[in-house]
């Protein structure tokens, strides 16, 4: 069965039900049920017209649910039982669906879950598996999110910034679970690009493609973290890099720079370097300066200090680190690395060990522990 095709149909089918008079929450529930039914039955009995099948099954589910609800409340059925005749209008509500699911009033985890279900066409179980929570918890999270946005019309323009943020979060969640969230984020961002004309969407897609290209080389045996400088660059996916660079260039010529484009530009400069030693760190620092103009976040300052350390030496990097908040995750790791490069090994070993204790992920912690061990071996030798 063609599961990606099935998933792509989900937002359009929700749109059809909403245009026929269903409210978004009920339409989305009905389509989710039709999707699960399709996953169970299409393998053995594929429909001739998958979209028409989904619409028909979802519409019936919706009517059943509405009838049960109206008889419970003793009210009249609020929608037409029969769909209007003629072909479904060609309007694509997908963009509105992105806006609604990533609505700024929703907590981030809810916006992520709702986007993956209503726009991404994932089942609640798949989303729960990806985020390592019980299915019942994920179902409640989605249902609460829908209650919060209930009554918000589907025909309003929304906040593209929160949509991009949600897609970025999905991508950045990494490759932990059975569901490939990074590929899913890329698929949704590719779709979004066809719906809107904002260069930042292209910037985000380029950023994802350029990082995704390094996917295979980023982890070693047993999930061991391989830092950028040590990655086997022959394993980088050159076609993803080529596409990422092309998408980025097309966005940059439109001269409306945003933070995703700037981040993608940095990733492109890394992708360009045949070896870590050939990296154009001077230009990367320039892009960090651009990025700071757009988003003066502490994380950007921290990453800029790393780049300055490479471009102008560890002393300059340490100076750049002086105005970064030391409470940031990875601050101590960066400090350790700069002291390591400056030859202050005693201090570097202590800082690596401290950074390992405050790491937020297991691979980072293990990497920093090994770094501490490596430097201590050097000291003993």
């Amino acid at each position: 069965m063609n599961e990606p095709l099935l998933r792509e149909l989900v937002p359009a089918v929700i749109g059809v039900l909403v245009r026929r008079g269903a409210d978004f929450a009920s339409a989305e529930d009905a389509v989710q049920e039709a999707l699960i039914r399709a996953l169970e039955t299409w393998q053995a009995d594929p429909p001739r017209d998958p979209k028409a099948w989904l619409i028909a099954v979802a519409w019936h589910r919706f009517l059943d649910a509405t009838r049960a609800e109206t008889s419970r409340r003793g009210r009249e059925l609020a929608v037409e039982v029969e769909p209007p005749a003629g072909p479904a209008p060609a309007t694509d509500d997908s963009l509105r669906l992105y806006f609604l699911c990533a609505h700024p009033t929703l907590p981030q985890s809810s916006a992520v879950a709702l986007t993956l279900r209503a726009v991404g066409g994932l089942t609640t179980r798949q989303i729960a598996t990806a985020y390592l929570v019980p299915e019942a918890t994920m179902a409640q999270r989605i249902s609460r999110a829908k209650k919060r946005i209930a009554g918000m019309p589907l025909d309003q323009p929304g906040d593209l910034g929160t949509v991009l943020r949600v897609l970025y979060l999905v991508f950045n969640e990494g490759y932990g679970g059975k569901v490939d969230l990074a590929s899913e984020a890329i698929r949704l961002t590719r779709h979004l690009i066809t719906l809107t004309d904002e260069p930042e969407v292209a910037g985000l897609l380029a950023l994802m493609l350029l990082h995704h290209a390094r996917r295979e080389s980023r982890t070693g045996t047993g999930g061991r973290l391989v830092p950028l400088a040590e990655q086997d660059r022959s394993r980088w996916d050159t076609s993803l890099i080529a596409e990422g660079v092309m998408v980025l260039q097309a966005a940059l010529v439109r001269d409306r720079l945003g933070e995703y484009q700037a981040q993608a530009a940095i990733a492109a400069l890394h992708a360009d370097a045949r070896s870590a030693a050939e990296t154009d760190w001077v230009q990367i620092v320039e892009w960090y300066d651009e990025l700071l103009q757009l988003n003066s976040s502490p994380v950007v300052r921290l990453n800029r200090a790393v780049a300055v350390g490479e471009a102008d030496g560890p002393e300059a990097g340490l100076a750049a680190l002086a105005d970064v908040n030391p409470d940031l995750p990875r601050y101590t790791a960066v400090l350790a690395h700069l002291h390591d490069r400056a030859g202050d090994l005693e201090l570097a070993a202590e800082l690596y060990a401290a950074a390992a204790r405050s790491a937020t992920s297991v691979p980072e912690r293990d990497h920093l522990t090994r770094e501490a061990g490596r430097v201590r071996q050097l000291l003993r030798a």
Partner: protein
């Protein structure tokens, strides 16, 4: 973000309120306490914040490897260890502040006389997957 809420039989900071052991409470007080815990978990699930939770028996022992071909060594159970974990709950919430808020709510479970027991709960963040984008 996932957090572990750890409930200790013993250990942790000095109790804010001295509470008699549960086996000396009135049955209705025990019921009220247990119901509070269950309702708390149910509310968390409804909010999409619940992951898992279990209670642990105070029994058990320490176990370790003792060399090739030998059975593991066990030590305990200990009647008076310094720290004894009574149970745990895993939550998945938006922020550290939210985790603290929920732990505070759980710590207000009723004890004798229906008054909150003010027990200390240990809140520990989970280590996660590393982020994809780090530069």
């Amino acid at each position: 973000m996932k957090y572990l809420l750890l409930k200790h039989y013993r250990g942790g900071p000095a109790p804010a309120v001295e509470i008699e052991p549960m086996d000396r409470w009135a049955p209705a007080e025990v019921d009220a306490h247990i119901k509070y815990m269950q309702d708390f978990a149910a509310r968390l699930e409804q909010r999409g914040e619940y992951v898992d939770g279990q209670a642990l028996s105070p029994d058990g022992a320490f176990v370790r490897y003792d060399g090739e071909g030998r059975p593991p060594v066990t030590d305990g159970p200990f009647a008076e260890t310094k720290d004894l974990i009574a149970g745990w709950m895993v939550i998945d919430v938006e922020s550290w502040d939210r985790a603290v808020q929920l732990a505070g709510e759980l710590s207000a479970a009723p004890g004798p006389g229906g008054k909150p027991i003010h027990e200390w709960l240990e809140v520990r963040p989970f280590l996660t997957e590393p982020p994809t984008v780090t530069e």
